[in-house]
Structure formats: structure tokens, C-alpha cells
């Protein structure tokens, strides 16, 4: 018993001595660069945290009102509508955007390709109101595409398809560019091996290229979805109704006042944060990445 205490004390003494020496060493090797970067980055994250904390304190002071607003059918319906319309837009993007991304990734640079790339990026550089106007004028009842679709019973003005098409338009560069980056990372060598083994171009794409870019497809889809459900100006031009969440917040801000709109906003923040956190976490289960060449 006694010996154990003594040896324990001895050990601790030794440990402390080495600990102080270690601390001294550490002081000497301060990496000011990293610390500076952390401070700069911290300021940026700090603003977001501060803004949310500011809202949270006000909201959590009156939980009854928050719960009342959050559980109202209007808010829940609107959130579901937004998420669904976003997902719908992303599905369309995956179907039409993936082939385009592959062609862009594999073709040689040319003037034509440069033009196509710029067209893909147009929604990125335009003000969202302009994007909204573009979509509205094309898909309105008398628009070039709106009129023929209207004849087969597909209306875009103030309707769900309008929301989807506006979201699709503004979110497309996010998906296409990410997907394309993924395809570019798949070595042409791997495709060549598959082709020498007797695969057609499409089989090669399906069995080699696509599985290796699944992770990019996934993160491109998340990005595009995030962009889609956050859209406001692009959507209201063609579909003010049904209310997507940003329209609902704007509407209640201008009619009911700050308190209600803030409660809706806070609910949206909580839900979006949770959903996106989960989706990001799931990235690790997606796709195989590590093919050696």
C-alpha cells in the first residue's frame, strides 16, 4: 500500500516535470500563421453564430409562441413543399445535368465548349430577380414554352411546376460544375481499361465512371438542393403561390410583422441545419474514391 503511494507520487513528479518541459517547448513553437488564419476564419463563423444566437435568445424567451408557429399547418406545409420542390428540381438536374457534365469533363477545350460553359454559369452571375424574370417570361401563360405546355394542361404560373422550374434554373450550375469536377477526377486510363475489356461507351460510363463519381454527384445534389430551397427572387416571379418557405417568411414579415416571421425563420434554421448536417454526415457512405492508377 505504502509503496504504491510512494511510487505513484514519484511517477506523478516525473510526469509533471516532463509536462512543464513540454509546455515550454510548445511556447517556443507558436505558429503565428495558423493562429492568424484561425482568428480571421473565426470572425466569419462568429458573425453567423452571433446572428443565430441573437435570434435564438428572442425566440427561446417565448417558447409557446415559437411552438405555436412551428406547428401551424401553414408553416409545416410550406416547409414540406419547399423541400419537395427542391428535391424535384435536383432529380431533374441529375437526369439532365449528369450527361452534360460528363461531356464537358471529357471534351477537349474549344470555342464552342467555352460558350456552353458560360451558358451553364449564367444563373450564377445574374441577379436572382433577372433569373426569375427569365424563367417567368419563358414559362408564363403566353411564353414560348409556357403556351405549348399550357395546352397539354401543365401550368407554371403560380403553380408547383413553376416553383420547380425556377429552382432548377438557379441551382443547375451548382450541380453541373460539381458533377463535372467529379468526372474529371476519374482517370481516362480506367475508362480505357474497361473499353479494352469490351465495354461500350455507355457501359463504361455506367460501370466505371459513374460509380467513381457518386460522391461528387451526392455533394453536387446537396449543394443544388440547398440552393434551390433557399431561392426567393427567382421563384416569386413565376410562382408567388403556393408559398415556399422564403415567400412565406417575406409575406408574414410584411403582413403579420417581425415576431411571426422571426419564429418561422428560426424554425427553418433549426430544420435546415439538422437536415443538412445529416446529409453531410452521410457523405462518407457514398461511392468509392480510392482507385489507384
Amino acid at each position: 500500500m505504502k509503496t504504491r503511494v510512494i511510487s505513484g507520487g514519484l511517477l506523478r513528479g516525473g510526469r509533471e516535470a516532463s509536462l512543464t518541459r513540454w509546455k515550454e517547448n510548445r511556447k517556443r513553437y507558436v505558429d503565428w500563421c495558423t493562429i492568424g488564419f484561425c482568428i480571421l476564419g473565426g470572425l466569419l463563423v462568429g458573425i453567423t453564430v452571433l446572428a443565430i444566437a441573437n435570434m435564438a435568445t428572442a425566440e427561446l424567451a417565448n417558447p409557446a409562441h415559437l411552438i405555436e408557429v412551428a406547428t401551424s399547418s401553414e408553416v409545416i406545409g410550406s416547409i414540406l413543399l419547399t423541400f419537395c420542390a427542391g428535391a424535384n428540381a435536383v432529380l431533374l438536374l441529375v437526369f439532365f445535368g449528369t450527361p452534360l457534365a460528363y461531356v464537358l469533363a471529357r471534351s477537349r477545350p474549344s470555342r464552342f465548349k467555352g460558350v456552353v460553359e458560360s451558358i451553364v454559369d449564367i444563373p450564377l452571375i445574374l441577379p436572382h430577380t433577372v433569373a426569375g424574370l427569365l424563367v417567368y417570361l419563358l414559362f408564363m401563360r403566353r411564353g414560348w414554352l409556357g403556351a405549348p405546355f399550357g395546352e397539354i394542361g401543365l401550368a407554371f404560373e403560380d403553380a408547383y411546376p413553376g416553383t420547380v422550374i425556377a429552382m432548377l434554373f438557379v441551382a443547375s450550375p451548382f450541380f453541373i460544375n460539381t458533377m463535372r469536377e467529379g468526372f474529371e477526377k476519374v482517370p481516362v486510363h480506367l475508362e480505357n481499361v474497361a473499353r479494352t475489356l469490351g465495354a461500350s461507351t455507355f457501359t463504361t460510363f455506367r460501370t466505371v465512371t459513374l460509380p467513381l463519381s457518386l460522391r461528387h454527384m451526392y455533394s453536387g445534389a446537396i449543394l443544388a438542393w440547398g440552393r434551390a430551397i433557399g431561392e426567393f427572387a427567382g421563384v416569386i416571379m413565376i410562382a408567388y403561390y403556393p408559398f415556399i418557405i422564403s415567400t412565406l417568411i417575406y409575406h408574414s414579415f410584411t403582413t403579420d410583422g417581425i415576431q411571426t416571421s422571426r419564429s418561422i425563420a428560426f424554425t427553418v434554421i433549426l430544420i435546415s441545419f439538422g437536415v443538412f448536417y445529416l446529409l453531410r454526415r452521410m457523405t462518407r457512405f457514398m461511392g468509392r474514391y480510392d482507385d489507384r492508377v
Partner: protein, 368 residues
């Protein structure tokens, strides 16, 4: 019969023309070696022959089918050929799945795949790794997986693109043995590109030299290595001695060439008045005493001026008016007691002296 017939193949990437007017025909059942320095267009040519990418211009028929006229047949034709690349490329899946790829693309029945994959892995000596992850294997083992992945599809033509460029000697030997056996037993046509001259000589029935995007010469390997058509080819195939001279007479099937006051006999008919003598280092013998003179042989005394060991051989430079480099084994150099400054006798058979017309401007260089 020619199984591949290519004429005037041109290929460029952007502004860079990689192949200019390549003509090549491959006979059924032969092993054709394509040798050439890196960047001479060997890999590009193989990719074009295997129909992975199209040429910009030219005619190409494979299995007697005109591939330019009949683009729709490419996949079917490609399925009758196989290709092994320089870098071992395996997919991040089990060895079994890797080898089964080609058969799955051909929608073979499951039992068939199972049997053939096992046989193919047996052939390359990797049966015990059948369930391992292919990316965990060593480079040499991965290349053997890649080989069995090709062989499992029973290709009629096999393209090998520097297949052993960075492999250990054992894996190299295994791959070479498999390829030669398949060629002999299954009559598989093989086109192998390599920058390893010894490998080209060892495996190929016929050798094509590729320089700067063109096939410079094709022929039996003896022909390429001993009777290169011009100086560039001679340099590439490792000829140590290229000596300019002038033809002085011709009699009894022997050409007499004078170089720096020394007369040397050659069996080659004179291609021009001004010639260059092509002599491989290993054809020059060195002796301490004057050996008996044989017919059609050059025999003269010389002084050793430099000795450069390149294990397992030694490059010995001797001076006899002009400088000649002889290649002797390290043991022989030791037996002869070679050192700089000593006198030796040089013997050189007349048929080991090959003559080519002198290239313009070639007279001033390489005169020793």
C-alpha cells in the same frame, strides 16, 4: 496473312502531331515488337490499333474489316482483342471481380465466368489471392491480375503497351512466359511495345522501330539490330560504332572501306561511295597475341584508350586510326588483363561490318 493492316495513320492532339503516316502490317500468329524511345508514339499507335480512339487520317483494317468504313463494328472488333497497359491498373474490388469484368461485359453465364476466372488466375499464379482486394497487391501482382483479366476473354490479338516497364524480374519473366506460350499454343497474335531492346529481341519474331511518330524500319530482329537502315535507328538499337569511310574497292563479295587510313572489309555491297560502317561492340573481339587470320576477317593491332565498366559487360575503347568500342564480358576483360595503354589485337568479321550511305553532314561528327 495480315490480321492488321494500317496505312498512312495520322494522329494529333491539338497542335501536336504524334503519328505521321504510320504504315504497319501485322501477320496472323506472330509476335511483333515495337521498339522506340519514350514519346515516339508507340502507345498512341496501340490505342488506335485497339480501336480505343480513332485516327485523324489513314486506313486501318483489323481482321480484314475496314474499320474506317464500318464504325459500327468497333465494339465487336474490340471484343476480339485485348490490351495490357504500362501502368498496372486494377479496380478497387476483389481480384475475382477484376478478372471477371470482361466476361461480365460480354454477359457470359455465371458458371462460365467462375470457371474461366479461376483458370486465368491459376495461369498467372495468383489463385491464392482470388478473394483479396486487388489494390492491396504489389505492382507486379497487379499487372498479373491485369494480364489474366485480358486473357480471360480469349483475345485473338493481344496488345501489350510496355507491359513490364516497371516490374520486378520475376513478374516480368512470368508475363513473358505466358505471352510466348499463348502465342505458340493458341496462335495468339501479339503486338508488344517496349523500350527494353533486350525484351524486344527476346520475344519478337519481327521488330518495328518507331522513331518520332513513324515506323522507321521493320524486319527480323537480327536485321534491325545488325543491319539498321540509317544512323538514327543504329543509335537507338545501341550500335556503339558508327564510323564514316570511303569505299575503295569491291572484289569477291567483299567491299573494302577506308577510314582514317585503315582498310576494313565488309560483306555489304556498297550502298554509296561515302559510307558509314555500323559495327556492334559485341562483334569486336580483343586478343593479347596475334590470333590466326581467318578468311573475310579484319585483323589489326590497336591501343586500349579507355575502359568503362557497364556490368556485366565492359566497354573497351581501342584506337587504331579511328576509335572503336568493343563490348567484352567483365571476366574476359580480367583474363586479358586489359588496362589503358596496352596493345591488343582486334579481330572483326567482315559480315559484322554493315554499311549505310553516309548521311548529309554526318561526315564531321563521330569521327573519333
Amino acid at each position: 496473312m495480315a490480321i492488321i493492316e494500317a496505312h498512312d495513320i495520322k494522329k494529333s492532339y491539338g497542335n501536336l502531331e504524334v503519328l505521321h503516316d504510320v504504315d504497319l502490317s501485322v501477320r496472323e500468329g506472330e509476335i511483333l515488337g515495337l521498339i522506340g524511345p519514350s514519346g515516339s508514339g508507340k502507345s498512341t499507335l496501340l490505342r488506335i490499333l485497339d480501336l480505343i480512339e480513332p485516327a485523324n487520317e489513314g486506313e486501318l483494317s483489323v481482321f480484314g474489316i475496314d474499320t474506317i468504313a464500318d464504325r459500327g463494328s468497333w465494339l465487336d472488333l474490340r471484343r476480339r482483342m485485348g490490351m495490357l497497359f504500362q501502368r498496372p491498373i486494377v479496380f478497387n474490388a476483389s481480384v475475382y471481380d477484376n478478372v471477371a469484368m470482361g466476361l461480365r461485359y460480354r454477359r457470359a453465364p455465371r458458371d462460365d465466368i467462375d470457371r474461366k476466372v479461376k483458370d486465368a488466375l491459376e495461369a498467372v499464379g495468383l489463385s491464392r489471392y482470388i478473394k483479396s482486394r486487388a489494390t492491396d497487391l504489389s505492382g507486379g501482382e497487379q499487372q498479373r491480375v491485369a494480364l489474366s483479366r485480358v486473357l480471360v476473354t480469349d483475345p485473338e490479338i493481344l496488345f501489350l503497351d510496355e507491359p513490364t516497364a516497371n516490374l520486378d524480374p520475376t513478374s516480368t519473366a512470368t508475363i513473358e512466359a505466358i505471352v510466348t506460350r499463348l502465342n505458340r499454343e493458341a496462335n495468339m497474335t501479339v503486338v508488344i511495345s517496349t523500350h527494353d531492346l533486350a525484351q524486344g529481341q527476346r520475344l519478337a519474331h519481327r521488330v518495328g522501330v518507331m522513331l518520332e511518330g513513324m515506323i522507321a524500319q521493320t524486319g527480323a530482329s537480327r536485321e534491325i539490330f545488325h543491319e539498321p537502315k540509317d544512323r538514327r535507328i543504329a543509335r537507338f538499337v545501341g550500335v556503339q560504332n558508327i564510323v564514316p569511310g570511303r569505299v575503295v574497292s569491291r572484289s569477291d563479295g567483299l567491299t573494302v572501306v577506308e577510314a582514317r587510313g585503315k582498310q576494313i572489309l565488309s560483306t555489304t555491297p556498297p550502298p554509296a561511295d561515302e559510307v558509314e560502317m555500323i559495327v556492334r561492340g559485341e562483334d569486336i573481339s580483343l586478343h593479347r597475341r596475334e590470333p590466326g587470320h581467318e578468311e573475310a576477317e579484319n585483323l589489326f593491332p590497336a591501343t586500349v584508350t579507355a575502359i568503362e565498366p557497364t556490368a556485366p559487360f565492359v566497354n573497351v575503347t581501342v584506337h587504331c586510326g579511328c576509335d572503336l568500342v568493343a563490348l567484352v564480358t567483365a571476366r574476359r576483360a580480367e583474363t586479358l588483363g586489359l588496362r589503358e595503354g596496352i596493345e591488343v589485337w582486334v579481330s572483326l568479321q567482315a559480315k559484322a561490318v554493315h554499311l549505310i550511305p553516309q548521311a548529309e553532314g554526318g561526315k564531321l561528327t563521330d569521327t573519333g
